[in-house]
Assembly symmetry: C3
Homo-oligomer: 214 residues x 3
């Protein structure tokens, strides 16, 4: 129940980030809706396809597709006032990231997978919607370069795993993971915390030519 509410907030927030990205690339209204759906529902779809967990969420509950399309449409209408809403937005997105992660992790555990696979499922659900959005908009995925993002999904999975391992009830586990991951993400945004970067320069022919043409 709690998870459903969080899920709905999460897909709405993600649909709006997708719509804004599409708007930056001047896509038409239909493209905006497709990008919004991919951003909101793509993470869960990637997880379900990789784990063979059929039917996919949006196939079972097509109403979520309708919801993301509505969210995209509302974003087109209120885009001008979006900048003022920036902080609300970041908060919703943070809630969405952790919500998606918990859901992904839980589904993998219910399927009987162990820690590593459920961690991957959680992180995948949390971040791959945004990655697909950036690929469709022809950007290098921000996820890999922004302040702590994917790594917070990973740490949240560890926290979830520990809580549930030490016998907390499922509701309590979900709630405390949510609060933990959410605070971590807000702290990361506020202080601009970043993972160390790996910078590798090489001047061979290949990478040079690929840069010229990209």
């Amino acid at each position: 129940m709690l998870l459903t509410v969080i899920y709905i907030i999460a897909i709405t927030a993600e649909a709006m980030t997708g719509a804004l990205s599409a708007g930056r690339r001047s896509m038409d209204w239909f493209g905006v809706m497709i990008i919004a759906c991919v951003t909101a529902l793509g993470g869960g779809s990637v997880r379900d396809v990789l784990l063979g967990h059929y039917p996919l969420t949006w196939v079972k509950h097509p109403e979520y597709l309708v919801l993301t399309c509505c969210a995209a449409f509302v974003t087109i209408l209120i885009a001008k006032w979006m900048r003022q809403l920036r902080n609300v937005f970041l908060v919703l997105d943070a809630l969405g990231l952790i919500g998606f992660t918990i859901i992904g992790c839980q589904i993998a555990l219910e399927m009987g997978h162990g820690f590593v696979v459920s961690a991957v499922a959680g992180v995948l659900t949390g971040v791959s919607g945004g990655i697909l959005r950036d690929i469709l908009c022809n950007d290098v995925p921000l996820v890999f370069r922004r302040e702590l993002y994917a790594s917070i999904a990973f740490v949240s999975v560890i926290f979830y795993w520990l809580c549930s391992h030490y016998g907390l009830s499922q509701d309590l586990t979900i709630l405390s993971t949510l609060i933990f991951g959410f605070s971590l993400r807000l702290i990361a945004i506020y202080f601009g915390l970043e993972m160390p970067k790996f910078i590798y320069k090489e001047d061979d022919g290949h990478s040079a030519s690929s840069k010229d043409e990209s």
Copy 2:
């Protein structure tokens, strides 16, 4: 039967658009064939993977793979005369778009899905081959910016749904949807009809930095 003929025309036309895109990026012959296969058969594969509809078309009928490779090879040979064939090409592509859409929609309906999922399946089958082509060639997918394209697939699904809901036989439904969608697409090309665009400008650090490096 009619659908099989349309399907074969469609994958041939799509394979040729894929080969031309690969040629614009100066890929080698093998790359041209891979891009052609992805463009022609990728839309159906995405749909089948998302709906869990196994085996995929080209796994069941590998002869379609051979056909797309041949189409790509022919494109390499006749590319010089391609510009004169431009209009033939657009017509075949329009036929392919609607054919793919009808097939995708029908498969979803046969699997027992409702309107929303079958609409998504139809549009996905129609447009995702082209989207994959543009991602592999590192372009922003044209589908989202060209004259009415994905939206025509969507309108065709609605038309198909209405026809079949009001009791038309399947053959008649397919035929009238084909004629309807095909004419719509030709009208859209001829008059350069476009969906309204959503243009969103924002000068924050993130989008600026992502532009610099992309």
Copy 3:
């Protein structure tokens, strides 16, 4: 047994190429690991999803995920000395390409597919990890433009097929395909052999506008 050893060498080598690509785009450590996993395990995942061959390798053997993450981490540490190791690297990558191809081909054959599908499965397993890496790093996939690469995977499948058709034992077939494909790849690198390229220029509005904005 032999194949498992080759597989482990292959995913390690591919994880390292993925990590270096991520480093060229200045990604953070977590992004480096994700790119490494996608490069090393993405080819097999694409094959398994398309053929409906569940569970995926890394779901069944999560230890391979841990291995690729370790390989990525080691790459970050030793990146400075990587240029001197360039040749070792190319050799390992060649071994990986052929190993992946043989494994992909074998899995398709075990599932009862014929020549065309097993050839596609082999080539897909060999090259799609690298393609996903280049898409995530926003490059035009190198696979389609480098010296003979995907085509060597294809020729190796034909060789494998012939060996196994003329009654060689499985071990001997694997070994001779490995030696054949590996030598071919080394010859291609040494002499800079390339497939003929297909170059297509067109100055219509669409491609021009897509270039401006990409």
